[in-house]
């Protein structure tokens, strides 16, 4: 049941990917690794969760080039675009992104295992659709399982955040504000 190796060949020397605003090198040994394992095991960005490893639960959702992707189904050497993980959602001053704040405020978090993936899927939605209906929110989260909350307060949180961001000058895009020279691991 090993899912360590993918189809891609060795990482070209000097290949880097940008993660939460910082360029990170890919090593030859990383070739074929899934983005999920690479983030968790190489970068120690353990906020990205593994719930199924077959692309069915959405716990591993991260943004690549602003779009939600399943890190467990993505080979790290194939990543084309900036990666944003849950660790890159906070604002540069360390305060919570409005989406994160809304999850906290409305009680959308129980065990929290789905939360990172939910926040990123919601972020991708709001970036393309700042005023989604509840049905559109549910549609956007259809790929993300939550066993605890029954989804209702998660939908509430996304609605709240959307309203807050509209009232406060538009969507905030995370992960692109940090200086490249700053380390982002750990």
């Amino acid at each position: 049941m090993s899912r360590a190796t993918g189809s891609a060949g060795a990482a070209p020397a000097g290949q880097t990917i940008r993660v939460n605003g910082a360029a990170r090198p890919l090593l030859p040994a990383d070739a074929g690794m899934t983005l999920l394992r690479w983030l968790r095991e190489r970068e120690f960005l353990t906020g990205t969760k593994n719930g199924c490893e077959i692309g069915a639960c959405g716990a591993c959702t991260v943004l690549v080039g602003g779009r939600p992707v399943r890190a467990c189904k993505t080979t790290v050497t194939d990543v084309a675009g900036d990666v944003v993980t849950i660790e890159g959602m906070e604002r540069p001053d360390g305060s919570l992104h409005p989406l994160q704040q809304a999850f906290v405020d409305v009680g959308a978090i129980q065990c929290g295992f789905c939360t990172p993936g939910m926040v990123l899927a919601a972020q991708a939605l709001l970036a393309s659709k700042p005023e989604p209906s509840r049905l559109e929110i549910r549609r956007a989260l259809q790929g993300n399982l939550c066993r605890c909350t029954g989804y209702q307060q998660i939908v509430d949180a996304v609605e709240h955040a959307a309203r807050f961001m509209r009232d406060n000058g538009g969507i905030e895009s995370p992960g692109c504000t940090q200086d490249e020279t700053e380390g982002t691991t750990g």
Binding site: K49, I54, Y151, Q152
Partner: protein, 758 residues
């Protein structure tokens, strides 16, 4: 108390979880850590099992392969009967049995090695249904029993046979409920670390640190004091992270003990579903006699729960089914027999609801069937038979020491959803003018649920309040956080008791070595027991402070008050900040520390008659569901759910709501889509692509109503909500489907054949 608990969502762990900083077991790593993988054999039932590990040891990076021969303690353990193999010796009783464990430098190496372990055995014909297992000539699966009937609970009250003779209507129905996977989003995981003093430390994704400690100590042959189990963030449990999760911890601990290195064992979803216990499927047979006025006069019930290969908590699950065998109705003549039956299916154990959802599905379906036959309104029939203040339950318990609010919760739901009008609008029985594809129906159900363990087990819990020199406070309790928010509830209770700000309190997640064993976090007992323990400790703490500070506050000790984040005497100018107060105690050489234990009120039970005071209090619930059934496809779509629960008191409203929505959604999953199938004992749905649980579009926006009749036996007034939320949605949906289509589904998950639709 002057400070009331605020209404906004409060969770001490929310920021950590929303930023990805929360540490779950698989997020823990150590330098030099080895990785473990389990080895399964493709047998469902076999004896003379022989394991050959030589090829596995050749895999590069494989360090070691462990089998039963490496176990210093007992290979088998269990909460009631020690029959669950942490590692099998020579007999395989189910497909999830683990025959060996590999240890590798990497997880890949361990997995690769596991694939190279070869197993030979003499295969036996597996026994896969309760019917086969009950055959008198069937092979007996458990070693400790002389029959496959591993438990039999009886309830005898009045004289049902005589009463049936007087009845106007007798209804006989059989119901079936599915095997359900808890489907916690985080699979089992454990990291175990050998400490230099010989203690093995365990960081695991498990529900019950103390139960886990017993599993680990037993496998390792170590004393309880030599095992320290730490809680980490747990990605859901729903009852499902006890035995198997504890076995995962014990296996990693075995690796750590033998190699002297930290060991991580993180389950793949496929291993988790293959091996972990599930919800018991039930076969329920009811015979119910009703008088012409609609009074249920007699009930005979026979239930069979598939226990699977190991006993786990089957006797407790089936006990609850016995004590609550006819829902929240007062019936004078009842005879119930509830059996747990061993098979070679994977074992079944605790899952949120614990023996109640199955029974409620049957009982609340029957009530609607009776209403239909007698042409009585389903609400009226329920009103006639439901328990009222002072009623006697089927176990002979008189309900007179708390508010019996079943009628109140039902009225709230009926009003909120507009039940009477919508009931008239249901498609079944209403000639339709259009040939629209959609059939509409509404259905309702009610239940009561005994709080906490009842006569199932020992019920007590401890809490510690530890005041610091600067006025901050550390709180610990023996209740474990599984994601349900118990730590936050405990913190809110302490803040209320001490009239202090939440910021002052730091909840410390206790380890098994720092607080007395407080039992397991099950049975919706976290809030009622843990909360009450915090109240006891807080009272002690206030007492200590009052006595020590009275002189300084120029008043009598009993006049000292705690509010607005200060400590007060009788006059407005006599008050102390918490820092001043703590400093004063230290100057007097008094440690500001209090320990409190709460012991649940007594319950009683007679095994031969099934009579007694089964639980010290009950949660009353009502849920209504509206559905739309497609004529073309037979698909059932949930349109709306309204739920009311008397939780005693809501300490954290947003979280009570979250428990309701989540519980209803899990219950709807069991009703409409979830079922584990086995082909010859091998599970078909090993991951979420095949085991479908509700997604965001599968459930509607729901309406939760919190009813609060403070419970006099709970020191906070609160009773809990975790399980009640799940246990009665199935019959509400089944009744709604019937009212839409005229089809009565006696087995869930509901499948409607469009051919049968009007």
């Amino acid at each position: 108390m002057s400070t009331t608990i605020r209404e906004k969502a409060f969770r001490n762990d929310a920021v950590a979880k929303v930023t990805g900083r929360a540490v779950f077991a698989d997020d823990v790593s150590y330098a030099g850590m080895l990785h473990m993988a389990p080895v399964y054999a493709d047998y469902v039932a076999a004896r003379d099992v022989r394991v050959d590990v030589s090829a596995a040891l050749d895999v590069p990076g494989c360090r070691r392969v462990l089998t039963a021969a490496d176990v210093p303690g007992a290979t088998h353990y269990g909460q009631i009967e020690r029959d669950y193999p942490i590692l099998i010796t020579d007999t395989i009783r189910t497909w999830g049995d683990v025959v060996a464990l590999t240890l590798g430098d990497t997880r890949d190496a361990a997995i690769e090695a596991a694939a190279r372990v070869t197993v030979t055995a003499t295969e036996e014909t597996p026994i896969l249904t309760v019917e086969e297992a009950l055959d008198p000539y069937a092979r007996v699966i458990p070693t400790w029993s002389d029959s496959n009937v591993v438990v039999h609970h009886r309830l005898r009250r009045g004289d049902p046979d005589a009463a049936f003779a007087e009845c106007e209507l007798i209804v006989e129905e059989e119901f079936r409920t599915p095997v359900v996977e808890q489907a916690y989003l985080e699979p089992e995981s454990a990291v175990c670390v050998p400490r230099t003093d010989g203690v093995i430390e365990v960081y695991g994704s498990m529900q019950h640190p103390f139960s886990t400690r017993r599993f680990v100590a037993s496998l390792l042959g170590e004393s309880l004091a030599n095992i320290e189990v730490h809680g980490v963030a747990v990605g859901g449990g729903f009852g499902g992270k006890d035995d198997t999760a504890a076995a995962v911890c014990a296996r990693a601990a075995l690796g750590a003990l033998i190699t002297g290195r930290p060991v991580k064992l993180t389950y793949a979803r496929e291993w988790s579903i293959r091996e972990s216990y599930k919800r018991h499927p039930y076969i329920l047979k009811y015979k119910v006699g009703v008088t012409s006025e609609g009074r249920v006069a007699a009930v005979k019930a026979e239930m069979f729960a598939d226990s699977g290969a190991y006993l786990s908590v089957t006797p407790w699950v089936t006990w609850r089914s016995t004590a609550q065998c006819f829902g929240p109705y007062a019936v004078d003549n009842v005879c119930a027999d509830v059996y747990g039956v061993a098979t070679n299916n994977g074992f079944n154990g605790a899952m949120r609801g614990f023996g109640a959802p199955q029974v409620n599905f049957a009982v609340e379906s029957i009530m609607d069937i009776i209403a239909g036959r007698l042409k009585i309104h389903p609400l009226g029939l329920r009103r006639i038979n439901m328990v009222k203040q002072g009623s006697t339950t089927v176990t002979g318990q008189v309900l007179d020491d708390h508010t019996v609010s079943i009628e109140e919760v039902m009225n709230r739901v009926v009003h909120e959803v507009g039940f009477r009008k919508k009931y008239e609008e249901c498609s079944f029985g209403t000639p339709s003018e259009t040939d629209s594809d959609a059939l509409y129906g509404i259905g309702l159900s009610i239940s009561y649920r005994g709080s906490s363990l009842g006569a199932e087990g020992m019920d007590f819990c401890s809490a510690i309040v530890n005041g610091q020199f600067d006025g901050s406070l550390i709180l610990e309790t023996g209740i474990h956080e599984n994601g349900q928010g118990s730590e936050s509830v405990m913190t809110l209770v302490l803040a209320e008791q001490l009239g202090c700000s939440l910021k002052r309190i730091r909840y410390r997640r206790s380890s098994t070595s720092t607080i007395p064993d407080s039992g397991t976090t099950v049975a919706t007992r976290g809030t009622i027991l843990g909360g009450s323990a915090v109240v006891v400790a807080a009272r002690e703490f206030r007492q200590l402070l009052s006595t020590s500070l009275a002189t300084r506050l120029r008043c009598k000790p009993e006049e000292v008050r705690f509010h607005e984040d200060r400590i007060w005497g009788t006059t407005f100018d006599a008050s102390l900040t918490w820092a001043e107060a703590m400093k004063e105690l230290y100057l007097q050489r008094i440690t500001p520390f209090a320990f409190g234990t709460y012991q649940a009120p007594d319950v009683s039970w007679d095994d031969t008659t099934g009579q007694g005071n089964a639980y010290f209090t009950y949660v009353y619930s009502c849920q209504a569901a509206e559905v739309q059934v497609s004529r073309k496809s037979g698909n059932v779509k949930l349109l709306n759910v309204v739920a009311a629960h008397d939780v005693g008191r809501a300490i954290n409203r947003a979280m009570v709501m979250g428990q309701m929505y989540g519980g209803i959604t899990q219950g709807a999953g069991m009703t409409l889509m979830e079922e584990v199938h086995r082909d010859g004992g091998r599970i078909r749905e090993l991951n979420y692509n095949r085991y479908r649980i509700p997604r965001a579009l599968d459930v509607p926006d729901m309406h939760g109503i919190i009813v609060e009749n403070h419970d006099p036996k709970s020191l906070t007034g609160a009773k809990g909500i975790g399980e009640p939320a799940l246990e009665l949605i199935a019959p509400a949906i089944a009744n709604a489907v019937h009212n839409a289509t005229g089809i009565r589904c006696n087995s869930i998950p509901i499948k409607i054949d469009p051919e049968e639709l009007p």
